[in-house]
């Protein structure tokens, strides 16, 4: 598997640390109900198709990445820096 890091280019999967779904980016605001926290921490979709998840270029530029990939075809359609993400 290969990931195209926006800073380092096309690199082998072994350089990256996999974290989980990009849900971790949507942290509930201060004082949010506990149900929101439960959702944020524990509830995850398991899609057959396009999904977004978080990878860390641990043996490279130390940037966190949002990777858009297809769980069925394994196609990677986008890699974006977490720090400069649009949404």
């Amino acid at each position: 598997m290969r990931l195209k890091c926006p800073l380092c280019g096309d690199r082998d999967r072994r350089e990256f640390y996999y974290y989980g779904a990009e849900d971790y980016l949507h942290r509930p605001a201060e004082g949010a109900p506990l149900a929101d926290w439960d959702n944020y921490l524990h509830l995850r979709d398991n899609p057959a198709g396009v999904t977004k998840d978080l990878w860390y270029h641990e043996q490279g530029c130390a940037q966190w990445l949002v990777v858009t990939r297809n769980t069925v075809t394994h196609e990677i359609s986008g890699v974006e820096l977490v720090a400069e993400r649009k949404a």
Binding site: R2, Y24, E30, D38, L41, Y56, A83
Partner: protein, 969 residues
Amino acid sequence: MRIDGKGLIDRTKPVRFRFDGKDYAGYKGDTLASALLANDVRLVGRSFKYHRPRGVLTAGSEEPNALVEVIGAKNQTPNVRATVQEVFEGLVAQSQNRMGSLRFDLLAVNDYLAPFLSAGFYYKTFMWPRAFWEGLYEPLIRRAAGLGSLSGKHDEGVYEKAFAFCDVLVIGSGPAGLMAALTAGRSGADVILAEESHSLGGRLLSDGGVIGGLPAGEWVAQVVAELQALPNVRIMLRTTVTGAYDHGTYGALERVGLHKSARPNLPRECFWRIVAGHTVLAAGALERPVAFEDNDRPGIMMASAVRTYLNRYGVSPGKRVTLFANTDAARATARDLMAAGVTVAGIIDPRPDAFSVEDCPVHVGAEVIGTRGRLGLSAITVRKGAETFEIETDCLAMSGGWNPTIHLTCHMNGRPRWSEDLAAFVPMEGAVPGLVAVGAANGSMSTHGALATGHAAALRMVDALGRKVSIDLPAAEDAPYQLRALWAVEGKGRAWLDFANDVTTKDVKQAAQEGFRSVEHMKRYTTQGMAPDQGKNSNVAALAVLADATGRGIAETGVTTFRPPYVPVSIAAMGAGGRAEGFAPQRFLTSDQASRDRGAPMIEAGLWYRPSYFPKPGESTWREACDREVTMVRQAVGVADVSTLGKIDIQGKDAGRFLDFVYTNTFSTLPVGRVRYGLMLREDGMVLDDGTSARLGEGHYLMTTTTAAAGLVMRHLDFVHQAFCADWQVRFISVTESWAQFAVAGPKARALVNSFLETPVELPFMGVAPVRIGGVNARLFRISFSGEEGYEIAVPTRYGEALFRDLVARAETMGGGPYGMEALNVLRIEKGFITHAEIHGRVTAHDIGMEKMVSAKKNCIGKEAATRPGLWGPEREQLVGLKAAEAISAGAHLFVPGTEVHRETDQGYVTSVGWSPTEGAWLALGFLKDGRARIGQKVRLVDHLRGIDVICEVCNPVFHDPEGEKLRA
């Protein structure tokens, strides 16, 4: 027998080798199989289950029969295919899976028991009694049915792994592969041409022909010379591409030293990971056997293999050869043999309308229905219409057509497509992104078809790469490929499908009868396709027999999944470099040599190696040294290397604000020159890590993490920063390896530290100051992990060893010395300081009694989730100290004295234990339900594993100096 004037072997270089204890001669360029056939050795192995005599069937890596053990000076490699192993001077090999000699294998009795050993017999026979499963049946079955054996010794062989990158990867070097490589190579693209065999050319080396007006051999030589001259083309011989993976990644196994006499520094094999922009699969096709009664005798082989042995190795596998084939192309075998002066005793062609004029008898519309010859073929029985007759022959060449080598196209879940025209499976286009199958691998069976498809695929790739190339397609034969599918000849006896696992047509039919009608069930019930050849010789024929038995078409019956690797790959090659010390990187302290010089045993702490203790003369156990070192710190002074702690340098206007967000407590209010202990939570409210952070300047902090969590915390900080506050002005970097840091602890610590400083410093507890030591800028922290007055001195790493040696020498003049991890652990248990033994990922700030450290005035990571029900209160297991007069153990569980000991009555567990020479007792830290309310009570500590059952007193976890007077002295 060897045929004069034929073959590509080097007859000027004779090679001696040994097989089953007997010496033979071959030539450079021979495989073990060709050299044995040249010496008229037909019997080379025994079959898996019935121990039937077997000979060489093929000339490639798909060989199911000729598996041998290669014996080296230091290793014994089982299941080596004699068709792949090249001979070299001094090669020693032996046959396998036999009891006694190869000619008189005692387990051949299995063949007479065959009626009882059909498919599924294990499941039916070895059912009762159940107690015999593991003790009796399994060892018996494993002994009787099997492959080669290992030496039982450690494999001292050298293996390598390597990475390669290219624009175009060409797999296979037959006409399709060579044409593709030449086209891509001339365009200037980076090309890797991987060839499984030891020379380029593929079937052209065996089949000859004319390409572009040149004899095929000359055309190959020309192309190879041009490819070798191109700097952008890398030719990898003896390299089998074993698997296709995501995003253009391929695994490949290169046989580096297996064809040479052992040389100490030459790796045996290299496992490659090749990353390719585009891939041309030109792996050709595999000829398939025909199932007829007793079709497994030595001397019966694939027609294409006979041609390979004749034309490539100059060997005729027989003196009186017969041919049984259903294609026109296979006739070349008979013609080539006759041209070389070998007698062809007959051609048996099942097609009634086949061409019948050759220079030997031709029996059209006929089939081979039986064979004779106990240890090697002596005659075949032919049926033509109502008539049957025998032909004397010592070699039967057979062909049932060809199966495209589609395996790699199925490695990423692609399913192949059934082609009625070819009576074979062909690749589904686009099954592996970036890979295009060409030539015979894609069902283009003529030489012209191979050249044209290889050329066209490479042109498209060159174009996609933005390059240009001009290259003409040479002319070559374009004969149509016509066959009438023939899978199995009707008959009563056993007809082999899977030679490697001894599966016959009867077994497949029986599977269908017993309800195993799905191809996946049939495979598992009969074990067809599960041998080292992975069904390369038998899958399609077995499917056809199953389809027939179940009244379905082959396309409907479907095919089992091809998975990597294409050929067996030794685990040693995949894990090359990862054995023993190579298993994980090793990190050494600057004081490493100084500690070893003092005889300190080193223990692993993550990747680090740290001194366990520093033995003194007269001490015979680690405990004696540990007790002495603990007392030394409590009464004088001790020196320990603490450089393994993670150090993160944090700078920027918002540095304090950032630390407030990641720590539960406040750091933005910390004065410059002071240090504070901080607690870090995960977002789910559990403790992530703890440590001290020092404020070195207005916008400059230095964070320390535990040794274990240094990487984890760095990753966490990066995430929090980039995900939630990327616009804050803060940057940080790990400086763990930039600084060597030494703890100096004990009542004489201040005197020792001041003896170094150019200007002595009066540091308050939890203070930090820049200092100069011997002209070097250093940092001095007044922090303690022992409970004594303590300092930590940090110097740039390159001064670490000198400082450590000096510190230890001066400490020794003061009644002190170095202390190791054992003493460090006892000291911190006495003081109730936690490590990752306590903050193991399932404890909250409340559990460790630090809920007051979670600031109410600000938000922080983990704060909100920590308030969820169930994460605080008396039902939680809380950190306590435990004191006992007898030895106790970490991992033990706690119970109320007088109650039963079982899971439901469990009250908690022990995380850290040590003998405290200071307290004169065994001390422990652990977690006890509602523990803080139970201080002063007794608990029962039980460790079933070590047979410990002791009553302990529940204590405040801080045993030593609970008021902290020594720390602040």
